[in-house]
């Protein structure tokens, strides 16, 4: 049941068109209107094969579905396929049935037989596996496009994730992949390609938002016999996973875009630098490159035009700093991934001292469609200064975790309360962190901020790669600032002293504050250090490392003050400053807290208020988590 590509040689655009025509029906079927699936001539069951769903054992689900299809003799009518990530990770493993796109959530191997007999033979969708915002309600949402998680989304970079089999080049071609390159090499000059990217207004999705077209133009202008095209797939922001999803779900988009970049700037060789923590992405990217080589879409004389381009994969080894482009280059060269001073910029002297163009995965994912549909098309989406869409990895204290792709300018509120489904457990939204360890937080009063590059920078945060961590009222902002600083301090490569020493000193101050030993002068010292580190560090890691602290101070200064003056952690997270007790008025005496207490320090009589023995309390907070009456206070 796994689809095998034909892998016959593609020598011309006509060959490419013939391959697309031969497989077009599969894509059309997955975009067709709903029909009762017992009557459908052909049915595709698409099973998510992303890392998230695979962790939920979606491979077992797929095998069980294949088995159920065979057991019912449906193998001529029903195909079970592995596709890339649907983005709705919380609901995994996800299975989507086409035509019509019935969206099944949390489908496990034991559900496979029922799904096949009920929906594909009897024509009745399995209600209990359909999505419901509230699982206790009977009303369910069947079609993927009616699902509140997908309403308001505009999937461009993710358009093939969950639509095609990423391990089959035929399906990629059937969904128009490689036609951007075909158009460029047969109808456009390299200058026209650069011009189109410039016109699209596309800005780098890796963090800083530098105009992609300008980067391409610079790399093109520099004359050299050898140039390189790099793809930064070292998605290091802890909390961002859109690049992984694109690589896992639509690897041909990236390979095609890199070939386009090679054509535009005059490079013959590309490298994808992928973090080794992404084994599925590496596997699929490897398959895609091999298949593209085999059919002749990579290699010499591509599509009979004389254009030559090839790609190799280079693995990272766990160093956040390698997301910085000069450090990434050092790592590809096999060295310690330490940044180099700029200038010279990589466009002038990059990998092995040759002009080098480096873009992030999501940036590349947008390029093939820009070439196909024109720069004006892309520029018409989003806002004036931030064109197109942005994928956000929404995680943390939010109901619907997953990947959300929206037009630039969509407000934070729409993302969190629309697709995100709000904050679970009736807790209050406190802040959202964008830009990871280089970014900052956005407080509740700024929920209506449009998400685009410049507005976020103006707020003291940044777009970053699109990690969006939602934090509820139980999050301590001082602790979060400390968490990020600990991260950057550990990941500092040690080359320049402002970053190496400065982040260490800042972390010590934050440790002091979270342990209740800080003073008001320490807060001033944090700000002073932050200013110095930002202005004197060598690379982007150090220059942005203080941002989470500065923005937490900007919007939640009173929490820092509570820690140092009142020796109190308002959120009850910092253990040294927290003491749990039971409010006798609110306690119903159910005893649940006592049963869940790991140190057995809660005692009492059923139906009478319980008491916490502070001397033995480990301050784990279990009691507060389990109490249904809010009687455990701190």
């Amino acid at each position: 049941m796994t689809s095998t590509p034909t892998l016959s040689r593609i020598r011309s655009v006509a060959d490419l068109e013939a391959l697309r025509a031969a497989n077009a029906h599969a894509i059309a079927l997955r975009q067709a209107e709903a029909v009762p699936l017992n009557e459908a001539e052909e049915v595709h069951l698409l099973v998510c094969g992303g890392t998230g769903c695979q962790a939920g054992k979606s491979v077992k689900t797929r095998l069980a579905l294949e088995e159920a299809v065979r057991a019912n003799g449906l193998q001529d009518r029903v195909q079970v396929k592995q596709v890339g990530c649907f983005g709705f990770c919380r609901m995994g493993p996800v299975v989507v049935a086409h035509p019509g796109g019935t969206f099944y959530c949390e489908v496990h191997a034991k559900d496979a037989a029922e799904l096949v007999t009920s929906h594909l033979i009897d024509g009745k969708p399995v209600n209990r596996l359909l999505y419901a915002a509230n699982p206790k309600e009977k009303a369910r949402v069947a079609a993927m496009l009616d699902n509140p998680f997908y309403k308001g989304q505009m999937r461009l970079a993710l358009r093939n994730c969950g639509l095609i089999d990423p391990e089959n080049i035929d399906e990629a071609v059937a969904s128009d992949r490689w036609f951007g390159l075909a158009k460029a090499v047969t109808e456009m000059t390299p200058d026209e390609v650069v011009e189109t990217v410039l016109k699209s207004g596309l800005r780098g999705r890796g963090g800083a938002g530098f105009p992609t077209g300008r980067k391409w133009a610079m790399a093109k202008e520099n004359q050299s016999d050898v140039k390189y095209v790099l793809c930064n797939a070292d998605e290091g922001d802890p909390g961002a996973f859109m690049d992984r999803s694109v690589l896992e779900g639509d690897p041909h988009a990236i390979i095609e875009a890199m070939a386009l970049a090679g054509y535009a700037i005059g490079a013959k060789q590309g490298y994808v630098y992928v973090r080794a923590e992404y084994p599925v992405a590496i596997h699929r990217l490897g398959i895609a490159i091999r298949q593209a080589r085999e059919v002749g879409l990579l290699g010499e004389n591509i599509l009979g035009t004389g254009f030559t381009f090839d790609i190799d994969i280079r693995l990272g080894a766990g160093a956040f700093v390698c997301g910085e482009e000069t450090a990434l280059i050092a790592s590809i060269e096999g060295e310690r991934g330490m940044p180099r001073p700029r200038p010279p910029f990589p466009a002038v002297s990059g990998l092995w001292q040759k002009p080098t163009l480096n873009n992030n995965v999501e940036t590349y994912a947008n390029v093939p469609d820009i070439i196909l549909n024109g720069g004006e098309w892309y520029a018409s989406i989003g806002t004036a200064r931030s064109a197109g869409t942005k994928v956000f990895a929404v995680a943390g204290n939010i109901t619907n975790t997953g990947l959300v792709e929206v037009p630039m300018g969509t407000t934070l509120r729409e993302i969190i309360y629309g697709m995100g489904g709000g904050i679970p457990k009736n807790k209050k939204f406190k802040a959202a962190q964008t830009g990871g360890p280089s970014g900052g937080c956005i407080p509740a009063e700024l929920l209506d901020t449009p998400m685009e590059f410049d507005t976020l920078t103006a707020l003291g945060s940044m777009m970053g790669s699109g990690g969006l961590i939602v934090m509820d009222e139980s999050t301590c902002m001082v602790d979060v600032a400390r968490f990020y600083l600990e991260f950057t301090q550990e990941e500092s490569c040690g080359k320049c002293p402002p970053c190496r020493v400065g982040t260490k000193r800042m972390l010590e101050l934050l440790d002091k504050i979270t342990h209740g030993e800080g003073t008001l002068a320490d807060i001033d010292k944090l700000e002073e250090l932050a200013a110095g580190i930002k202005s004197t560090s060598l690379c982007g890691l150090g220059q942005t490392a203080p941002n989470p602290v500065l923005s937490a101070l900007k919007y939640f200064r009173e929490e820092f003050v509570a820690h140092v003056v009142e020796k109190r952690c308002p959120a009850g997270k910092c253990q040294a400053l927290t003491e749990f007790r039971i409010d006798a008025e609110l306690c119903k005496g159910c005893g649940l807290c006592a049963r869940k207490c790991p140190t057995n320090c809660i005692s009492g009589e059923i139906k009478h208020p319980f008491v916490i023995d502070a001397a033995n309390c480990a301050k784990c907070g279990n009691c507060a988590d389990v109490c249904k009456f809010g009687a455990v206070v701190h």
Partner: protein, 183 residues
């Protein structure tokens, strides 16, 4: 050093043979040191001194350079890991969902700290930065397999399952997949 397993890997050990043949092609590829180290770690489980020396000789570069690269990157281990290496994700999404409590529970259950191996060499513990499964936070990986949506209360059961699986494997002498799925 109480561990002696880092010494005495026979020259004709098939892992050495495989590493050497990998290095024959790697030697002509510029910047291949990191991929060679990945290969070596995959073969030996970690990178003891003699393996690093072998890589230096094989690629004709100074051992200091090899050591410098190995110690720069988090994923390379110079100490042995357990049969089931446990990696606790401390990415932001996992952290705000209580990964610190999961880690504390693992530390107390296994009686080791990150970077250490249990006495029976069954488990080793480490902390990693985001494996990209943020939708399932908090997550840990055990021997490469991802376990998501965990709380500290799930830890004892999970460890017991792995121990049981290891026991079944050693009794059967052949790898047996023990169902670890509990709905």
């Amino acid at each position: 050093m109480t561990c002696t397993c880092s010494h005495g890997i026979a020259a004709e050990d098939p892992r050495n043979v495989e590493l050497d043949s990998f290095m024959v092609t790697a030697r002509t590829t510029p910047g291949s040191l990191i991929s060679v180290l990945h290969k070596a770690q995959q073969l030996f489980g970690y990178l003891p001194e003699e393996v690093l020396n072998r890589v230096a000789t094989g690629l004709q570069i100074p051992p200091s350079e090899v050591y410098g690269v190995v110690t720069f990157y988090n994923l390379f281990n110079t100490e042995p890991v357990g049969k089931y290496p446990i990696s606790v994700c401390m990415g932001t999404a996992c952290y705000v969902q209580g990964a610190d409590r999961v880690l504390a529970k693992l530390e107390s259950e296994l009686e080791i700290k990150p970077g250490q191996v249990t006495e029976d060499k069954m488990f080793s513990l480490e902390v990693c930065r985001c494996i990209g499964a943020c939708g399932l936070a908090p997550v840990i990986t055990i021997g490469g397999e991802v376990h998501g949506k965990l709380s500290e209360h799930d830890v004892p059961k999970l460890l017991a399952e792995i121990r049981q699986q290891a026991l079944a494997e050693s009794e059967a002498k052949v790898p047996v997949a023990v169902g670890s799925e509990h709905e």
